[in-house]
Amino acid sequence: MAIPTNESVYSAIALVFILVTCVELCDAVAVVDVYRLIQYDIAGVPFGSRLASLNHHAGSSLYTPGADLSRTVVMIPVAEVNITFIREYIEQKQPLGGLMLLLPRIFSPENKDVKYGGDEDPGKEQMKNILVELERLLLYANIPYPVYFAFEDDSINAVLADVKRNDVSGQPATATTGGYKFVVSAPEPRKLASPTITNIQGWLPGSKADGDSNQLPTIAIVASYDTFGAAPALSVGSDSNGSGVVVLLEIARLFSLLYSNPRTRGRYNLLFGLTSGGPYNYNGTQKWLRSFDQRLRESIDYAICLNTVGSLDKDLWIHVSKPPENAYIKQIFEGFSNVAEELGLKVGLKHKKINISNPRVAWEHEQFSRLRVTAATLSGLSVAPELLESTGGLFDNRHFVNEAAVVRTVKLVAESLARHIYGHQGKNFKIFADDSSYAVNPSYIASWLDLLSRTPRVAPFLPKNDPIIMALKKELAEHTVEVSLQNEVLDGMFTFYDSTRGRLNIYQVASVTFDLLLLLVLGSYLIILFSFLVITTRGLDDLISLFRRPHSRKVKST
C-alpha cells in the first residue's frame, strides 16, 4: 500500500518541477514576430511565397560557398540587399530553405517614436527605392520556400552578428560550432473562401427649393480604403490610400458643418463613398455603382476620386478619361486650378482613354466613366499605376506621408467643391479660411492618419465587421446620414491564402558532432570511474579478471 502513495506523491512533485522548468525554458528562446510574404493566385497562376512553416539553420548570405542553402534560412537586412543578385537567384529557381528579410525598425506599424531623419535624408529615398524594387520582385515571383519579414531589434541583430561571424570564419551552421535554428510553426496555408469586400457610403442631402419636384443633383466624393502589399500584415498604405480616406473624412466633416445650417445648405446632395477592392481593378467601386438605380446614377453631376494625395514633393494631377475639351471636365479642372493657384499649388490635367476590352482599371474614376458618369481622380501620381502597384507597399507608412500635404489637398478639394455648390466659380472667396469656424482641423487629420498607418487593410484579410471598417462607418455616421455598408464578394480572378503572420522561435542549437563528442567524453568518464572504483574497492586483479572472464568463457564454449 505504501508504494502507490509514494508514486502519486512523486508524480505530483514531478509535475511541479515540470511547470517550473517550462517557465525557465521560455526565457531561453528568442521569439520574434514575423510577417509572411503574401501568397496568392491570379487566375490560377501562383505567385508569392508558397510555404509557411520553417525549420532550418540560419545563414547570413546567399554567397556562402559549400553551404547547403536548401536547408538554410538566409537572413538579410533590407538595407544590404543586392537586388540584382536576389532577382537572379529567384528567377533561376535556385534552392533555398527560406528567406528572412529584416526591415528597419521605423517600418514597424507599432513604432511611432522613432523619427526618420529629415525629408532630405538621402537614406530614406534609397531605402524606399530598394523596398519598391524588392516588393515588385517578390510579388510577381513564384517562390517555393517561405519568405518572411521581421523588424530589426537587439535580439535579432545579436543573432545576425553571430551568424555572420560563423559564416565569415568559414564554418557554416551545420559544423561543430552549432549555430542557430529558425523555427516558424505554421499550418499549411489554406485558400480564403470567397473574400468579401465592404463599401461604406454616407449622404449629405441638399435642400430643395420650394415646389421644385426635380431630384437634386449629386456630387460624389470617393476614396478606396483598402491596401495590398508584399506583407499583408504590414500593408498599412498611409499614402495609398490612407491619405485619400483622411481627406474624404475631413471634407465630410467640413460640409456637415455647412449643411447643418439651413441657410448654408447647398442645392447639391453630397455622396461620400469609401470603397474596397481598390488594388483589384476597383472591384468594389464597380459593384457599388452597379448597385445604384438608374435615376440615382443619372443624378450624379460628377464624382471626385481621391488617391495618394499625401506627399508634399509631388504635384497634384487630375486624371480624366473624357477629352479635356469636354465641358464638364473643363469646368471641374478650372474650378480646381483656380483654387490651386490661390493656394500656391500646381494642378495638371492628364487624359487617358479607357479601353473597354481591357480588364485593367488603373484609376477609380474609370469605373464611373464606364457607366457614363463624369468623374475625375485627384492624385499625386502622374502616370497610371500598374496592377498591384502603388497600393500600400512596404515603404508606404506614416513617415512618408506629410500632414501639411493632406491639409493642402483638403483645402483644394473642399474649396473648389464649395465654389461649385454655391456658384462662386472664378471668385476669390474663402469659406474654409484658417481662422474661420470652418477651418481645416490638422489634429483630426493627424489622428486619422496615425490610426490608418497602424492598421493593415488588405481586403481579403479584413472580416466584414473588422474594427477599422466599423470605425470608418462610425466616423462617417458622425457627419453624414443614411450611412450603410455594402458587402460584396471579390470577383474571381484572385485567390488568397491565409497565415500572414507568425512567430519565429530562434534556438541556439548544438550540432550532432558536438553530441557525439560529448558521448565519447562521457563514455570514457564512466569507464575510468568504473575502473577506479573496482581498483580501490576490490583491487587491480579483480579489474583484470573482469576483462578476462568473458574471454575464457568463450574459449570454454567453443
Binding site: A2, I3, N6, V9, Y10, I13, A14, F17, I18, V20, T21, C22, E24, L25, A28, V29, G178, K181, V183, N505, Y507, Q508, V509, A510, V512, D515, L518, L519, L522, G523, Y525, L526, L529, F530, S531, L533, V534, T537, R538
Partner: protein
C-alpha cells in the same frame, strides 16, 4: 539529435549511480533492496520537507538572499539527516556489513534525489531545440551530489552505528557531518548571496564533494583500524 542530447545528459546524471553499484562489491552482495528502501525513505523525507517548507517559509518575490529565511531553510534541511538516520538505523536490512550498508543507503538516497529533482527538467528541457550547458552542468551536479550523499551516509554510519570509535575523532566526525548536511544552504548562499553563476557553483560543489569524500574516507579508515 536533441533526443541524443537528452540521452547524453541522462548518462551523465544517472550513469555514475549504476557504475558505482556495479563496480563496487555492492552488486556482489546484492544490496539493491537496501538501496530501494533508502530511496523510498528519501521520498517520504522529501514530502515532509515540502510540507515544512510550505508551512514555515514565506514566498519571496525577489531572488535576494534573506538570512533568516535561509536559516529556517537550513534547519528544515536537517530533516534529511533525520531521514538518513532512519534509513541507516531503523530499517531492517538483510545481514550486510556496515561497510556496504552505508554505501547502499547513500546510493539509493542520491539516486532518488536525482530522479526527483533532475529527471523531469531533463525530460522537458534537454529534448528541446535550444542548446544550453545547463543540463550538462546539472548532470555534473548530480555526480557531486552522489559523492556527498555517500560521504554523509558514511559519516552517519560512523556516528550512529559504530560504538567503539576513537574519542578524539568524534568532534571531527560531527563537524564534517554538519558541513555536508548544510551543503544545500551553502550553495544557495553562493548562488543568491554572492551571485555566483551556475558553472561556478557546480565547480565549487564538485571540489567540496571530493574534499569531503576524502576526509570521510580517512575518518572511516581511522575508525576501522582499532576494531580490526
Amino acid at each position: 539529435m536533441t533526443v541524443f542530447h537528452f540521452f547524453n545528459c541522462a548518462i551523465l546524471t544517472f550513469g555514475p549511480h549504476a557504475v558505482y553499484y556495479s563496480a563496487t562489491p555492492l552488486s556482489e552482495y546484492d544490496t539493491l533492496g537496501t538501496s530501494v528502501k533508502a530511496a523510498l525513505v528519501y521520498l517520504g523525507t522529501a514530502l515532509v520537507k515540502l510540507v515544512c517548507l510550505a508551512t514555515f517559509l514565506k514566498v519571496s518575490e525577489n531572488d535576494s538572499f534573506d538570512p533568516y529565511q535561509e536559516l529556517l531553510k537550513a534547519l528544515i534541511g536537517f530533516i534529511d539527516v533525520a531521514g538518513l538516520y532512519f534509513a541507516l538505523t531503523q530499517l531492517t536490512h538483510r545481514n550486510i556489513s556496515q561497510n556496504h550498508k552505508f554505501q547502499a543507503v547513500g546510493l539509493g538516497w542520491a539516486f532518488a534525489d536525482s530522479v526527483l529533482h533532475r529527471l523531469a527538467p531533463l525530460w522537458v528541457g534537454a529534448r528541446g531545440l535550444e542548446f544550453t550547458w545547463d543540463y550538462i552542468l546539472q548532470g555534473l551536479e548530480a555526480n557531486a551530489n552522489l559523492v556527498l550523499s555517500i560521504s554523509l551516509a558514511a559519516l552517519g554510519s560512523l556516528m550512529w552505528l559504530r560504538k567503539n570509535k576513537p574519542k578524539t575523532l568524534i568532534p571531527i566526525i560531527y563537524a564534517c557531518a554538519g558541513i555536508v548536511a548544510t551543503m544545500p544552504s551553502i550553495t544557495s548562499y553562493l548562488k543568491r548571496g554572492l551571485g555566483w553563476h551556475f558553472p561556478e557553483v557546480v565547480g565549487f560543489e564538485l571540489f567540496t564533494s571530493l574534499v569531503m569524500a576524502i576526509i570521510s574516507w580517512q575518518l572511516f579508515a581511522a575508525c576501522q583500524r582499532p576494531s580490526s
